[in-house]
Amino acid sequence: MTHIAFREEDLALEVDYVVVGSGAGGATAANALARGGATVALIEAGPWRDPADYPSSTYGAMRDVFDDWGVGISRGRALWPIVQASCVGGTTVINCAICVRTPEDVMVGWERDLGVGGKAFRDAIWKHQDKLEVELCAEVVPAAAAGRSNLLAAKGAAAVPYDGHPMTRYVKGCVGSGQCLQGCKQLKKQSLNLQFIPEVMALGGTVLSCAPAERILLEGRRAVGVTGRFREPVTRRKGGRFTVRARKGVVVAASVTRTAPLLAASGVKHPRMGFGFRAHPGTGVIGVYDEDVDMNVGATQGWASVQYRIDPGMKIETLSIPPEMIASRLAGAGKELVARMGEYRRMAMWVVAVRAEAVGRVKRGFFGEVSVEYGFAQPDIERLRKGLALLARTHFAAGARKVLPGIYGLPYELGPDQIGLIENGPLDPRAYILISSHLFGGTTMDKDPARGVCDEYGRVHGYERLVVADASVIPTTLGVNPQHTIMALARTFAEHLLDA
């Protein structure tokens, strides 16, 4: 079992496969390759934090596990943060481990429009998802751990009415500690730093942490390895250079915001490199109730509705956030803001994630930083308004006294007869505080090498032994949480590599 963290000395390794990125895609691909008998090196830019290292506060989470303090933003008319992790296990450490199967209509669309997949492909994805659900102990949120916010959402949706359900998550025996976003110290969430990555090491693999990849090594059009320099996580001081040669292939799963820039910086050329960026930007409506809700108790995200996934294109779900985040989310400042915080325990926050039509671009900026150009189209704002209005209706149906829409230009609080203000809210995206957490594209799959960077097995068109195995290959939005799809795709690609 080998783990190599930051070091001053240079390092050279040779393995069968090198995998860049240890999130849902990278860890799953590395695991499948190792299970198939290959020697694997898994390279992660961030440090390895065990549950005992996990932060408790949001400050600690931003410092220790978020990618560069969560400073990544998409730039359009509005600036929206992009939330990802940078640590061994990637975003699986800080997400809510939501497990939703890849919808059939999505994959049928890929086949119809892009020539990607087909029935055998769909069956392979679902077969892997069957297995992943068993391996990662997918469970419906137990009632005892649901928490009042999730139960209220269920009650409100039933009264509106629309369909909803307790979430299925990769969480074994959730105790409702409400700390999904900081990493589960209770060891219940099956994040991949606890699951697939230790198995990679047990099978003889090597994990390099604090090791941001700078370049894919190419010989002609064949990928032969990866190089970069270790980086100390606190001081960001650079250490020794690592070079990992790959006898059989390089798998890139560095995240939607990093994979395309890494490939481009390595000299991998494709006219669609970085294009096709898509997301499910989301924001919430806070309901204020007469009694304590204590949204920080119970599953951080425990209830969802996908009834409107296709029309108009959005997902409704609960999300609890701690006081230090609510403090900046509430409008106002000074005495007024502090007085508003007095209602924290009676608040429940539910969110809408919009299945946006907008398409953007990921690229490397002037100073080498990641740059995401992305802006909402008007239909997306209209979806957002519908979703926010539905959330407000759901809160009132669940018994809320008032809602806090958090929309610039609208009153701080609204009553049940004022939901129309949200439905007719501003069309300017700058009026909304959105966060993008489900990201897709940048090196999308397409049968036609002129239209997509990768083929249906993640292989980069025109290159040998170079595979992308993260959400960068996903050519459309899904309308559901993407982790299950990313992992199934990564396992499919890895098994195809082994077969080849």
């Binding site: 400050y59 006081p323 403090a327 409008a331 007095g342």
Partner: protein, 133 residues
């Protein structure tokens, strides 16, 4: 740098003042927090924080119509200035101020005294550790 820290402190105290229910951010180790934040955060976030701080202090003329920097205003006028700035119609004014408010909120909202006032247990310390071998 000491001037920036002093200005930031003044702005943060305005955003999260003492109230009957809660302690103010001035009752917390604010200087230590700003120093730690500067040391630990990404440079671009620090730049945004400084921009938000400067905007807070140079804009009272446009919010409360007083041609003085915010630190010279009375507490009541400064509070009104903060409220209007947080809801400023210009997005690129609102955003750095939002960042300032968020960074102050990360300290204020996670403080054991604020959590106690909300009836919540204190957070355990953030270890800041990682696996080294």
């Amino acid at each position: 740098m000491r001037v920036i820290v002093w200005l930031a402190r003044s702005a943060m105290v305005t955003f999260y003042p003492r109230s009957e229910q809660f302690p103010g951010i001035e009752d917390m180790p604010l200087d230590e927090y700003i120093a730690r934040f500067r040391r630990e955060c990404a440079p671009i976030i620090w730049a945004g924080f400084v921009l938000g701080t400067l905007l807070f202090h140079i804009t009272p003329l446009f919010t409360v119509f007083v041609p003085l920097p915010a630190f010279w205003l009375s507490a009541e006028t400064r509070d009104r200035h903060a409220q209007r700035l947080a809801a400023h119609p210009i997005y690129y004014v609102r955003q750095p101020v939002f960042l300032l408010k968020m960074i102050a909120g990360l300290l204020w909202g996670a403080d054991p005294k604020v959590r106690a006032a909300l009836g919540l247990p204190p957070y355990p310390a953030d270890p800041g550790t990682w696996r080294k071998s």
